[in-house]
C-alpha cells in the first residue's frame, strides 16, 4: 500500500489557522485539542547599519504541523499498551479501547502530535482523515487551506514533486524519526536561525 503524507510550504503559509480550525471542526474537538497546530516563529534584534542608524532585523514565519506519520514512529514504540499503531497505509492511529492515557507518546513525539483528551482520558491524534480518504477526498486541512500551502498524497509522489526536505527551523530533525512529510522552507529560515527565533505562541498551541 502507498504511504501517505503531507506537504507544507512555509513560504506560502500566512498563518491564518484555517487548517487548524477546519480540523477541529471536522473532528469535533474541544478547546485545547489540536490535531493540527500553527506555530508562530519569530526572532528579532536591532542592528547598527553603516550610517550608525539602529534598524530592526526580523525573521518571522508560520509552521503548520500535524502528525507526520513517521516511518520510525516513536509514539508507536513508546506506547505500553500498543494502542498507538500503524496501519497498512502508514497512518499512525490510536485505538481508544486500548489507550490508558499515560501520555508517554506525548513525551516521545518530537512534534507534539498526540493530544490528550482530559474528558475521555485518552490520547487522540490526526489520522489523515481516514474516512475522507476512503471517500476519495483529501484531508480537511489540505482542502481548507486558502493559500494552498498544504498538499497531500502518496509520500513518494510528494517527494518527486517537492523534494526530500523534512526539517525546518526550529522543528526537530526529521531524520530523527523518519518524518513522513515534505517541507518547503521559508526564505527567512536562515535569518531565524541566526536570531535564535522561537515559538511565540506557546500558550496557544499547548495541549490542555
Amino acid at each position: 500500500m502507498a504511504k501517505f503524507g503531507f506537504y507544507f510550504d512555509a513560504s506560502a503559509c500566512s498563518g491564518c489557522k484555517t487548517c487548524q480550525i477546519a480540523c477541529q471542526d471536522k473532528n469535533d474537538l474541544p478547546v485545547g485539542i489540536r490535531f493540527r497546530r500553527i506555530y508562530e516563529i519569530c526572532g528579532a534584534t536591532w542592528r547598527q547599519d553603516d550610517q550608525n542608524t539602529w534598524v530592526p532585523e526580523i525573521a518571522a514565519y508560520n509552521i503548520s504541523v500535524a502528525c507526520n506519520h513517521c516511518e520510525d514512529a516513536p509514539c508507536v514504540k513508546a506506547c505500553p499498551t500498543q494502542a498507538m499503531y500503524k496501519d497498512d497505509n502508514g497512518i499512525v492511529a490510536v485505538d481508544p479501547k486500548k489507550c490508558i492515557g499515560c501520555r508517554y507518546c506525548e513525551w516521545a513525539c518530537p512534534y507534539g502530535a498526540p493530544q490528550y483528551n482530559k474528558k475521555l482520558g485518552i490520547m487522540q491524534k490526526c489520522d489523515l482523515c481516514r474516512d475522507y480518504l476512503a471517500d476519495g477526498k483529501v484531508p480537511v486541512c489540505v482542502s481548507s487551506c486558502p493559500m494552498r500551502a498544504l498538499d497531500f498524497g502518496p509520500l513518494d509522489e510528494l517527494q518527486k514533486r517537492y523534494g526530500n526536505q523534512t526539517t525546518l527551523y526550529p522543528l526537530p530533525d526529521g531524520d530523527l524519526v523518519g518524518a513522513g512529510w515534505v517541507i518547503k522552507s521559508h526564505p527567512a529560515e536562515t535569518k531565524a536561525k541566526e536570531l535564535s527565533a522561537r515559538i511565540i505562541n506557546p500558550e496557544e498551541v499547548k495541549n490542555g
Binding site: I100, R103, L176, P202
Partner: protein, 289 residues
C-alpha cells in the same frame, strides 16, 4: 507542571525510596562487619514494612497519572519496544519479591539462608527497576532528560533517601559502626549531588537549543525552587556531618543523634522532591514543541 506530573513525582520518589531502603539494608545484611549480631532481626523487619508501604503507595500513585486506569492491565502489552511497559513489569517483579521478603521476616525467624537469597533477589530487582525507570526518560525528543545524568540522579536519590531512613531507625539501637556508615553515606551522596549539578548545568548550556531552553526554565522561571533545592541538599550534607560528629562524641547516649538524623531525613526529602519537580518542569521537547 502538567496535570499528570505530581503522581509521577510521588511514584518515582517512593519507589526509589523503597529500593534505597532495600539496597542499604541488603548491604548491611551482606557485609556483617557494619552491624552488631542481633541488629537485623530486631529492627530491620520494620524497615521492610516501611519499604513495602512506600512501594505500594508509589504504585497506587502511578495509577493517578493515567487517564483511563481501568485499562491499566494492558500496560505490559508492549514489553518488546516500550520502556514504560518494561518499567511497570520490573516494578511488579520488585514489589512481589519485596512483599515476599517482608512477609517472610515475620513468619520465619531470622536468620535463614533463604532470607539472604530473597534479599539479594529483591536488591537486584530494585537496582534493575531504577535503571529501567531512568531509561523511560532517555528520550531523544527530550534532550535534557536524555543523558547519563538521569540514571545518576535516580540512583543518588535512591541511596540518599534509603540511608536517611535507616539512620533514623538506628538512633536508639544501632551499633556505632552502622550509624557511622550511614552518616558517611548521607554525606557522600548529598555532596555528590551537589558536585554533579554544575557538570549537568554546564552540559545543559552547551548541548543544544532544547537543553539551553531547559536551562533557561531552571535558571529563569524556577530559580527560587532551584536555589531552595541546593540549600536543602547542602543542609542534608551538613546534618549528616552533624550526625557523624554526634556518633563520635557520644557512643552510648544516642539521643544526641536524634535531631541530626531527623533533620537529615527531612532535608534529604525536601531536596529530592524539589529536584524531581524541577526534573519534570525542565524537560523541554526538541524544537520547543
Amino acid at each position: 507542571m502538567a496535570d499528570n506530573t505530581l503522581p509521577l513525582v510521588i511514584f518515582t520518589l517512593l519507589v526509589q525510596f523503597s529500593v534505597g531502603i532495600v539496597t542499604v539494608y541488603g548491604l548491611f545484611l551482606l557485609f556483617p562487619h557494619f552491624r552488631s549480631k542481633n541488629e537485623i532481626p530486631r529492627r530491620f523487619k520494620w524497615i521492610l514494612i516501611v519499604s513495602s508501604a512506600a512501594a505500594l503507595v508509589g504504585v497506587a500513585a502511578s495509577f493517578m497519572h493515567l487517564g483511563n486506569p481501568l485499562s491499566s492491565y494492558r500496560a505490559v502489552a508492549n514489553l518488546g519496544s516500550s520502556r514504560l511497559s518494561l518499567e511497570i513489569f520490573t516494578v511488579l517483579i520488585y514489589l512481589g519479591s519485596l512483599l515476599a521478603l517482608t512477609v517472610l521476616q515475620f513468619v520465619i525467624p531470622y536468620p535463614q539462608r533463604h532470607h539472604h537469597w530473597l534479599t539479594i533477589l529483591t536488591l537486584i530487582a530494585g537496582i534493575v527497576v531504577i535503571y529501567v525507570m531512568a531509561t523511560v526518560y532517555l528520550l531523544p525528543t527530550r534532550p535534557a532528560w536524555n543523558s547519563i545524568f538521569t540514571p545518576i540522579g535516580f540512583y543518588l536519590t535512591t541511596l540518599l533517601t534509603g540511608s536517611a531512613l535507616l539512620l533514623l531507625f538506628q538512633i536508639n539501637s544501632g551499633s556505632w559502626s552502622s550509624q557511622k556508615a550511614l552518616a558517611i553515606i548521607i554525606i557522600a551522596i548529598s555532596t555528590l549531588h551537589l558536585v554533579v549539578l554544575p557538570f549537568y548545568m554546564t552540559w545543559l548550556g552547551e548541548a543544544n537549543d532544547a537543553t539551553r531552553a531547559s536551562l533557561e526554565v531552571v535558571l529563569k522561571n524556577q530559580l527560587t525552587l532551584f536555589l531552595l533545592g541546593i540549600v536543602a541538599m547542602g543542609l542534608t550534607a551538613s546534618c549528616g556531618l552533624w550526625a557523624l560528629f554526634s556518633i563520635k562524641s557520644c557512643m552510648i547516649k544516642n539521643r544526641y543523634l536524634f535531631i541530626p538524623s531527623i533533620a537529615a531525613f527531612i532535608f534529604a526529602w525536601a531536596a529530592v522532591i524539589i529536584d524531581r519537580v524541577l526534573f519534570y518542569l525542565h524537560g523541554v521537547s526538541v524544537g520547543g514543541f
